[in-house]
C-alpha cells in the first residue's frame, strides 16, 4: 500500500538524522523527512483514486483538496527553514572552520 512506502522515506530520513556526522547532511535528512511527510499526506488525500480537485465539469470522484492545501504550507515553510539552517551552517563554518558535529562539540568543550 502506498502510505506504507512513503513512511519508509520518513524512516530513511530519521536514519540519516541519527547517523550523519556532518551538519549539512543533517539538514538534508530533515528535508528528506519533510518530503516523506508531504508524500504521505498527498497519498492519504488521494488513496481512493480520483481526478484533480478542479471543478470544470461533472467529476464523480476528486482527490481531497484539504491535504494538498496544507502541504503547500509545509513546502513553503520547509524551504525557508532549510535556508535558515544552511545560513546558520555557513556561520558555524566561519566560526569553527568545520561542519563536523564531533569536531565542533570537541572545540566547544575545550573552551
Amino acid at each position: 500500500m502506498d502510505p506504507m512506502l512513503t513512511f519508509l522515506v520518513i524512516l530513511i530520513g530519521m536514519y540519516g538524522l541519527s547517523t550523519s556526522k556532518n551538519i549539512i547532511k543533517s539538514v538534508f535528512s530533515v528535508t528528506i523527512i519533510e518530503s516523506g511527510v508531504i508524500l504521505l499526506f498527498l497519498n492519504l488525500g488521494n488513496w481512493q483514486g480520483g481526478s484533480i480537485p478542479i471543478i470544470n465539469g461533472a467529476a464523480d470522484l476528486i482527490a481531497d483538496p484539504l491535504p494538498q492545501a496544507l502541504m503547500i504550507t509545509t513546502i513553503v515553510i520547509g524551504s525557508t527553514v532549510t535556508a535558515l539552517a544552511l545560513m546558520l551552517c555557513i556561520k558555524v563554518f566561519h566560526h569553527y572552520g568545520t561542519v563536523e558535529w564531533r569536531e565542533i562539540l570537541r572545540r566547544g568543550e575545550g573552551k
Partner: protein, 230 residues
C-alpha cells in the same frame, strides 16, 4: 556497529506500529471531498478547490504561512549581517567562468519564465497554481538575471521593506471582510449579493499580492546567500 543494529531495529519497530495503525485506512479516512465538491465553487468562486481552501476557508493558515516566510527571511538577513555595513550584493560567480551557452539560453528563457510565473499567479483560481507556486517561479526567473548580468547589484533592505508592506496589505485586505460579512479572513464580497465572477476579483487580488510577496522573499534569501558566499 551494534548502535546501527539497534537503531535499525527501532526504526523497523516504528514502521511496524505505523503499518498496524493504518490497517483500516477506510475507517480512519472517510472524509472524501464531497463537501468541497458540492459547495466549493459556489461559496468561494474558485474552480480550483485548493485555492478555495487557501484563500477562503483557511485563509488564517495562509496568512501565517506568509508570515513565517517573512520571519524566516528577516532571520536569514539578520544572521548574515556583517560588522562592516554592506548595502549591495553582487554576484559571486566569475563572469568569464559562466559558459556562454548558458548565458545565451538564460536570456532566451528569462522572459518566458517570467510570463509563465505571472500566468500561474493570475490563473490560480481556474487552473493548478496560485500565489505561492507562481511566486516561486517568478523568483526563479529573477534569479536567472544574476547569470545574465554578473554586475547586478541588489539592495536587500529595500526588498524586505517592500515585502513587509505587501504583507501588511494582505492582512488588511483579508481583514476587510469584517465590514461586509461580519467575520475575519474570508471573501470581501458578501455571499448573498455577489455572483461568482465578483468573488473572483478578490481571489485574483490576493493571489497577485501573495505571489509578489513570495517572490520577493525568495529573492531576498538567495541574495543573502550570494552575499555570504562572496
Amino acid at each position: 556497529m551494534i548502535k546501527h543494529v539497534i537503531l535499525i531495529a527501532m526504526l523497523l519497530a516504528i514502521y511496524a506500529v505505523f503499518t498496524v495503525s493504518l490497517q483500516d485506512l477506510e475507517q480512519i479516512y472517510q472524509t472524501s471531498a464531497d463537501y468541497f465538491r458540492e459547495f466549493g465553487v459556489d461559496q468561494t468562486g474558485s474552480n480550483n478547490l485548493v485555492t478555495a481552501i487557501l484563500l477562503d476557508y483557511r485563509l488564517f493558515d495562509s496568512l501565517f504561512e506568509a508570515g513565517i516566510l517573512l520571519i524566516a527571511v528577516s532571520g536569514i538577513i539578520w544572521i548574515s549581517k556583517h560588522d562592516i555595513e554592506e548595502k549591495n550584493a553582487r554576484f559571486m560567480l566569475d563572469k568569464f567562468k559562466t559558459p556562454d551557452l548558458f548565458v545565451t539560453f538564460s536570456r532566451l528563457v528569462y522572459p518566458l519564465m517570467l510570463a509563465f510565473g505571472f500566468y500561474i499567479i493570475i490563473n490560480g483560481h481556474v487552473s493548478p497554481g496560485g500565489g505561492f507556486q507562481g511566486g516561486a517561479i517568478v523568483a526563479t526567473a529573477i534569479l536567472i538575471l544574476y547569470y545574465i548580468d554578473a554586475d547586478k547589484e541588489t539592495n536587500i533592505g529595500m526588498i524586505v521593506t517592500v515585502e513587509k508592506f505587501l504583507y501588511l496589505t494582505i492582512l488588511i485586505i483579508a481583514s476587510l471582510s469584517i465590514f461586509t460579512r461580519g467575520t475575519f479572513f474570508t471573501n470581501v464580497f458578501p455571499y448573498e449579493t455577489s455572483s461568482t465572477s465578483t468573488q473572483v476579483i478578490y481571489l485574483v487580488t490576493l493571489n497577485i499580492l501573495i505571489g509578489f510577496k513570495v517572490a520577493l522573499g525568495l529573492w531576498a534569501i538567495f541574495t543573502a546567500f550570494l552575499k555570504e558566499g562572496r
